[in-house]
């Protein structure tokens, strides 16, 4: 029996399991079926007494085993303490593959783990597979999303991060017979080099919503100003949707970074994505092309966004959007 596929169970600040954990578990079960009797193992590092709340979720998402480290010092996510706990547990588990969410936590922690274990890490993958040699083939966009690269690791464990919403969870109606094992790590003498002085939850409701929004109204350079984005906000409110932005809009300071969709931003899969004043650079398209329906509004009829849109409207956003707000 091989040593397993490890899935990092990400605990959010509000002490729930990030949905990407289950999306990765769904994929891990599929990958495991292509390997030789490979267990899917969850690794949870958190403050004490959380594991109980998550047991059902682990059982219904196909985990064979969950290893958990429960320490007071893991109350809040701090890179150094989490890295120490995770690396210690991983050395004991000795998995062949490690999958983590490409969240801010995952992308902060994963390289710390991979570099410490002297192994390879492929970030922000959009596809994972097991090749004919039984190795993890991790595919990711590169060159601003224009080139896809399939990357393999010569060393073990083979590591990859995947963004939320790329895979779908595979919820089981029946409970799996998951084994829970406590892993002790002594952090008593270890103090973090960082101190979190303050935390402000995001005020901009767009942020958490983008992952789950059914409708997203996105703006690009064509929205011209922060006021342009206020207009989008009204449009989105009318539709009960969220606001997103292209990288250019974020770089111009029209919208906050957390609204950014695309290669260096979020990947979204709403029912409807309305791109307003977005030219459609590939690095943006990779973040939204799996939306069910895409509508593009742009004054340039040759804008590449129309190549990925189901419906196109050639016109001035400042003319069209107010009319839409009034008519919807």
């Amino acid at each position: 029996m091989s040593k397993g596929i490890l899935v990092w169970a990400e605990v959010t600040r509000e002490n729930y399991l990030h949905p990407v954990t289950f999306e990765l578990a769904g994929k891990a079960v599929e990958l495991a079926s292509k390997m030789d009797e490979t267990p899917v193992i969850g690794l949870l590092c958190s403050k004490p007494n959380l594991i109980g709340e998550f047991k059902d979720a682990f059982k219904h998402n196909g985990f064979d085993k969950v290893v958990y480290v429960a320490e007071e010092k893991l109350e809040e996510y701090k890179t150094d303490l989490y890295a120490q706990a995770a690396i210690d547990a991983i050395k004991t588990i000795d998995p062949e593959i490690i999958l983590m969410g490409a969240t801010t936590q995952g992308r902060d922690l994963a390289p710390r783990i991979s570099m410490s274990l002297h192994t390879g890490l492929t970030a922000d993958c959009t596809a994972l597979d097991i090749n004919e040699d039984g190795k993890l083939a991790a595919t990711r966009p590169t060159f601003g999303g224009q080139l896809m690269a399939t990357i393999l690791s010569k060393n073990s464990p083979q590591m990859a991060t995947v963004r939320p919403k790329v895979f779908r969870p595979n919820y089981l109606d029946s409970e799996k017979d998951t084994i829970f094992i406590k892993h002790g790590v002594d952090l008593s003498n270890k103090n973090s080099s960082i101190e979190i002085l303050d935390f402000k939850k995001k005020l901009c409701s767009d942020i958490n919503d983008l992952d789950s929004a059914d409708i997203i109204v996105a703006g690009g350079k064509g929205m011209q100003s922060k006021e342009g984005f206020d207009l989008l906000r009204q449009f989105a409110d009318k539709l009960g949707g969220s606001v997103a932005a292209s990288r250019t809009a974020v770089e111009l300071g029209l919208a906050p970074q957390q609204c950014q969709v695309g290669q260096t931003g979020k990947t979204v899969t709403p029912k409807l994505y309305i791109a307003c004043g977005i030219s459609g650079a590939l690095q943006h398209v990779v973040g939204m092309e799996n939306s069910e329906k895409i509508i593009a509004i742009n004054n340039d009829k040759d804008a590449p966004i129309f190549n990925v849109a189901d419906y196109g409207f050639v016109g001035d956003v400042f003319d069209v959007i107010p009319q839409l707000i009034n008519s919807l």
């Binding site: 390289p111 192994t119 224009q146 970074q257 196109g312």
Partner: protein, 260 residues
């Protein structure tokens, strides 16, 4: 305070042309300093404007042409440039890159307080080299930093932007800080800066200058390799153009399942 600013010369990904075989046409591809590294430079210059005795050394690993990127950031306000350049360094993944840069810092630039990196590079977008350097130097890291608020002896306080919100963090120096786009006005090179950049002597180090063996660097020292590269598939749709707003309203309503 001595700051090491890690930069990367990247191809201008907004201007990619394809060959007939669907490979990227590299000839004539313009190189720029990775925009996130410029944001990191702006943070460093901001510190320099607020505190005394701030020194900024820009460091990059790359072919000899990468010297251009170093001169560019010197023109924008960095104090000096260091180029890690050797055929043995070529083809490095993030692991080998971080290891090489960390080895050079450890052996040649010991006297540092802060290492600044861009959060992402727009070509590879792995966001791994900064944390990798921190790991190999065994120092703390703070990623996704929007702003460096304060520098007090031995510590900096930063604002970190996570998926969930904004964390105000105090980190003990030396540390690696990875910078997102901040609120700064775009920095432009000054005449004096350009002159200084032309006159500056770029320090160069190769494999013989750092405490690593050739097999630990470059392609040989990289645990990952690209097994296949292919052009990203486009969404397979035919765009239906709509002529008037009324029809657009109908389309939006039908997609969202609302009928009048």
């Amino acid at each position: 305070m001595n700051i090491i600013l890690c930069i990367k010369q990247v191809p201008d990904t907004t201007d990619i042309k394809w060959t007939e075989n669907n490979t990227i046409q590299r000839e004539g591809l313009e190189s720029v300093v990775n925009p996130y590294d410029v944001y990191a430079l702006e943070s460093a210059l901001d510190l320099k404007s607020r505190y005394e005795d701030i020194n900024i050394s820009a460091l990059t690993m790359g072919p000899s042409q990468a010297e251009k990127a170093l001169r560019k950031v010197i023109a924008l306000g960095a104090d000096k440039g260091i180029l890690l350049c050797d055929k043995k360094f070529a083809g490095a993944d993030t692991y080998a890159t971080a290891k090489t840069i960390a080895a050079a810092i450890k052996s040649k630039l010991q006297d540092y307080d802060l290492i600044l990196c861009g959060q992402f590079a727009v070509d590879g977008d792995t966001a791994q080299t900064g944390p990798g350097i921190a790991t190999f130097l065994d120092i703390p890291q703070v990623t996704y930093v929007k702003e460096i608020v304060e520098y007090t002896r031995g510590y900096v306080t930063v604002i970190r932007e996570t998926d969930e919100g904004l964390e105000k963090i105090r980190v003990k120096l030396p540390a690696v800080i990875c910078i997102l786009k901040g609120e700064f006005e775009t920095t432009r090179p000054t005449i004096n800066g350009i002159i200084r950049a032309q006159k500056s002597k770029i320090l160069k180090y190769g494999i013989d200058d750092i405490p690593l063996c050739p097999v630990e660097t470059g392609l040989k020292g990289s645990p990952t390799y690209v097994s296949r590269a292919f052009r990203a598939l486009k969404r397979d749709v035919n765009c239906k153009f709509i002529g008037d707003v009324k029809e657009l309203v109908q389309v939006i309503n039908s997609v969202r399942g609302k009928h009048e």
